[in-house]
Point group: C2
Chain length 106, copies 2
DNA sequence: CCAACATATGCCTTGACAGGCATATACGGT
DNA sequence: ACCGTATATGCCTGTCAAGGCATATGTTGG
């Protein structure tokens, strides 16, 4: 399950796809153009991303419009939380914690 | 490179290693015990994590103590920032006051 | 130096995955 | 229904990484 998300993100091309979709919804053809990937390549990457729940698709005319499914990344975010505490603690010691912390500091 | 970090994190065993090290520094032998991996397996995973800058090692007697290097994950965190904005915006549309409620039971 | 322990590495096999190419399927217009 | 466009999938191949096993390297103490 979660493994699917990690595996999907392991591929640079798929992260490129996500990054484009984060800005705007795009059809497969538009993705192909912007990424200079082949069309089958793109479709396959989209398949993986879809199976991982990272993108969703809808039909518009004869195009399939892909959009990012950002909540699927929240689990990655919560996994990171542990480490974020660690490195921000480290930054604290350097007195460089510029951003305000939502929760009170440790 | 960033790719190294993503590739390193793609493996479940390596994430397990990191999760253990996030709690406390451990020697290789202790990792082997807790993860029920073989020793060479563990050493190889540690090698990958080290090359990715995710852990650091120091010698203590005849043991090698591994510790997590949390700042290496900050780039992953900043990558996530884009998507975090997206999904929190989505949550906003569902009613942002829900997260202020202690128990948002269904 | 030798012994015993702890850890790293080399070799090999196997399985997973990406890319290329051909082709199948779906949709819209006529 | 036919055609062109858009997208998906199947097959094949090369590559790469993980696991198993044996062994090398490094460390401590005698």
């Amino acid at each position: 399950m979660t493994q699917t998300v990690w595996a999907a993100l392991a591929d640079p091309h798929r992260r490129d796809v996500l990054d484009l979709l984060a800005a705007e919804e795009l059809s497969v053809g538009e993705l192909v153009t912007r990424l200079s990937l082949t069309q089958p390549q793109t479709s396959k990457h989209l398949r993986v991303l879809r199976d991982a729940g990272l993108v969703r698709v809808r039909q518009r005319g004869q195009h399939r419009i892909y959009a990012v499914e950002p909540e699927s990344l929240s689990e990655l975010d919560s996994w990171l939380a542990t480490y974020r505490r660690l490195w921000s603690r480290h930054l604290d010691r350097l007195g460089e914690h510029l951003e305000q912390t939502p929760q009170g500091d440790s």
